[in-house]
Amino acid sequence: MAAYVAQRLALALATVLAATFLTYVLLRLVPGEPAQVILTRVFLQDQTAAVSQQDVAAIAGRFGLDAPLIVQYGRWLAGAVTGDLGTSIRTGRPVTLELGWRLSATGLIALLATLASLMLTFAAVALKRSFPSPMATRGFELLAVGSIALPSFFLGVVLIILFALRLDWLPVSGFESWAHVVLPVTVLALGQFGFNAILLDDAMTEALAAPHIATARAKGLDERAILFRHALPNAILPLIPYLALQFAFLIGGVVIVERLFAIPGLGAYLTDALDSHDGPAFLGAIGVVALAVALANLAADLALTRLDPRIRLKRGAA
């Protein structure tokens, strides 16, 4: 078991390394001399100032852009291992510090969105299964598929107009109080809800077809008890690796939601850093995202191994 965990962990780290290295190379392949790009994007924008060679050289020296690519990445990595992700070009602050701020915002939203979507999922599946009827089935399907089909950037605008302006219940944007969190979390949660619901419902169908359910039924157990005590625990299993996969999707969704609601989170950090060509900031953010996704996958894997005896057997045999 320990060997398996170690192997998976090594693989996760390798993924993070490869992702950051690729990002680094791709960033440097952006057309234009990097120092010049930084100068115009970060410091001048579309101001009509003369760009002198002296300025370009100063930037290159300041951010260590004159060393070969691999050396620069090596420097970055050596720092990253000790928790030093360099200094943001735009703000002059340590990237680690800024990422900490951004992560707390995004982490909170992502966590709440996952919880909310799971609650919605269980509620919807429980309702559908408790009152079986063609109407319930169709309603469930419509709700689930509809929530997937609604683009977040459209839903977000509609919700702001409705709940922040017309009804005046919630704030429009920002990240200052619990009320600020409601709309972004709703948008993100609805986006995930559809998939979770369909997946759980399908898994329920399969779990209900298992032999031990028939035995339970034959024993005359209450249908509710069969549903929730015997079928549900088995049906949750396929949801676990999927939740991990969803993590990457969640970060993607966060990019849009944070822009819509002006939340200073990781997604906004990524886009802003890329827009202004703030290499250290972008690379740090990518590293964090890749690490989070890799760890989420690892956690799901381990949880599954723990929970599902069949998988344990299979791994043992392999």
């Binding site: 693989l11 390798a14 993924t15 993070v16 490869a18 992702a19 690729l22 990002t23 791709l26 960033l27 392949l29 952006v30 057309p31 169709r138 399907e141 419509l142 598929v145 509809g146 997937i148 089909a149 609604l150 683009p151 977040s152 950037f153 459209f154 605008v157 509609v158 107009i161 986006g191 998939f195 369909i198 997946l199 399908d202 399969e206 396929p238 690796p241 999927y242 996969l245 990457a248 999707f249 970060i251 993607g252 990019v255 849009i256 822009r259 990524l270 886009t271 890329l274 060509h277 990518i286 995202v289 890749a290 996704v293 890799a294 996958n297």
Partner: protein
């Protein structure tokens, strides 16, 4: 599927209405503009109103449909071909090649599609090439995972073993005996990816990546409409509804097809599209 259910009729009606408006809209010019007509409300002249440059929203919806569908199909074709080839290759050669390809797949799914698209767009400019590359680069992984798992599970089955014993080359066996089993399994994923692509293209259009203005694209249309939302809400609502309807139809079709099978058969990790 014997008789149509009521919800199928609804689906059919929506599709028909959708098709009719698009067909009509295609006869109109999506770029021709008269600034003096800008931000007209829906009416007789312009059934869906006009945008901030006085362009006909219906015409843009229709032409945007063609573009979105074209892009989505391109991405599917690329992902599909790459995915099957890579998946079968990994399973067939096994060992180090398999491990390497699996690692690449893990790597590509470790970053959100939107982020990959952002990086590519920074390199290639925000054009359609960056969009297609970004979505295909991540899109093929799901096909590959399913293909790989299927090949692994089919390999030990009788008909494959006997074909191999009969002296069929590796490629021959893959093509004649495994591919036919694989294709139906992937059809559900294709429909699903179609829906996702439309949403992703729209989302990237919203972030300013992909389709270049003034070429119409639904996501970009919604993004362009945001500044005028309080004055001309139809500008965002119409493309929003069309986007919703189209994705809905695509997903409903997925539900009807064999999608649920793959979720359970494709081990080790089921591959629902990273939405």
């Amino acid at each position: 599927m014997s008789a149509l259910r009521r919800s199928d009729w609804l689906l059919l009606a929506i599709t028909a209405l959708f098709a009719l408006t698009i067909a009509y809209g295609l006869t109109l010019d999506p770029i021709d503009a008269s600034l003096r007509n800008s931000l007209r409300a829906p009416g007789l002249d312009f059934p869906f109103g006009t945008d901030h440059l006085g362009r006909d929203v219906l015409a843009r919806i229709a032409h945007g449909f063609l573009r979105d569908v074209g892009l989505s199909l391109t991405i599917i074709a690329l992902s599909f071909a790459t995915g099957i080839a890579m998946g079968m290759l990994a399973a067939e050669l096994a060992g180090a090649v398999d491990r390497a390809l699996t690692f690449v797949m893990d790597l590509l799914t470790s970053l959100p599609q939107i982020v990959i698209a952002l990086i590519l767009a920074a390199n290639l400019g925000g054009g359609e090439l960056a969009l297609i590359l970004a979505l295909s680069l991540t899109g093929w992984v799901q096909y590959a995972r399913i293909a790989r798992a299927t090949v692994f599970s089919l390999r030990e089955r009788g008909f494959v073993t006997s074909a191999r014993l009969a002296g069929g080359s590796r490629l021959y066996v893959l093509r004649r005996h495994i591919l036919p089993h694989l294709l139906p399994l992937l059809s559900g994923l294709v429909a699903l990816q179609f829906g996702h692509n439309i949403l992703n293209i729209a989302a990237l259009g919203f972030l300013g990546i992909g389709v270049q203005p003034p070429a119409p694209e639904w996501g970009a249309m919604i993004a362009e409409a945001r500044p005028y939302f309080s004055r001309a809400p139809w500008l965002a609502i119409v493309p929003g509804l069309y986007l919703f309807a189209m994705t809905m139809v695509a997903l409903m079709l997925t539900r009807r097809s064999s999608f649920r099978q793959e979720l359970t058969t494709a081990d080790p990790q089921p591959g629902p599209a990273t939405p």
